[in-house]
Symmetry: C2
Subunit: 163 residues, 2 copies
């Protein structure tokens, strides 16, 4: 099982994660940007995900999605996509958890080829060091682990055979 | 003449600016968000500004504008607006100078009432400390000084009599 490498230097607002996937970059990028695929892996297994809106257009666009558990409690997230011309395998977006309004991060995903595999490099910058620390303390990486394993399964199964 | 207070703590990716305006918050907010008004003050006097697109919608939206001088050289900037529910006088947007693609900041504008006057608080966070330092070194505040004086004039003139 691939592990997540986390870098969170104390006293900075940065949070970096790296995770390798056993699939070509094209496929990983599709799974990360197509709302029909995103809902099948993003977040912990115990939560359902639905997309409120997910619009990636030539100028950027915006998204909002909702996770809900068996208890019916909903957690919503929204943000905007920033158009980047530099690299087609880079996705840049703002991110806000609606349960903590006013705390916004700028999140970058870069997909780097490593032979037949792909390394996903995530780099978030928060508006303050305190907000970054709160994100870490809330255990953001726990849900990610689960989600990335679901993404492994999706990439190894249906997506692999469709490509 | 009002001065700009700049805070840029070494070793951090933050850049903070404060500037007071002799006008009510409502008016300052209009001048900052209406593209027809923005083009009349944003940037140095010696440059012309035109809007390519400026869409502020319920989900966020995106913008792009171009500054050009008498020499015909154009400088373009683009980004996305992040929808914030927290405070109607806060504007949050990503920002990228197309002359240095790949360097994106997350910029927050907060307008705070101070009697009949308004304090504009700008807080940018860059993706790296180096990118923040480069922005400072490029003299970003010089163009701002000029622009803010033009905004003073707009607020004292036509906008004051229209409110």
């Amino acid at each position: 099982m691939a592990t997540i490498r986390i870098t969170a230097t104390p006293g900075t607002p940065f949070l970096e994660l790296e995770r390798e996937f056993d699939a070509p970059r094209e496929l990983v990028y599709r799974a990360w940007t197509d709302p029909k695929l995103i809902v099948r892996w993003l977040g912990p297994r115990r939560l359902q995900m639905r997309i409120d809106y997910w619009e990636l257009d030539e100028h950027g666009g915006a998204y909002r999605y909702v996770h809900s558990g068996e208890d019916g409690v909903e957690h919503a997230f929204h943000g905007s996509f920033h158009r980047t011309g530099a690299d087609p395998y880079t996705l840049l977006q703002t991110f806000e958890y609606e349960g903590a309004p006013g705390y916004v991060s700028l999140d970058e995903l870069k997909l780097v080829e490593a032979g037949d595999r792909t390394i996903a490099k995530l780099r978030s910058v928060h508006q303050t060091v305190e907000a970054r620390d709160a994100m870490l303390a809330a255990g953001a990486s726990e849900g990610m682990n689960d989600g990335f394993e679901r993404l492994d399964e999706l990439l190894a199964g249906e997506l692999a055979s469709s490509s």
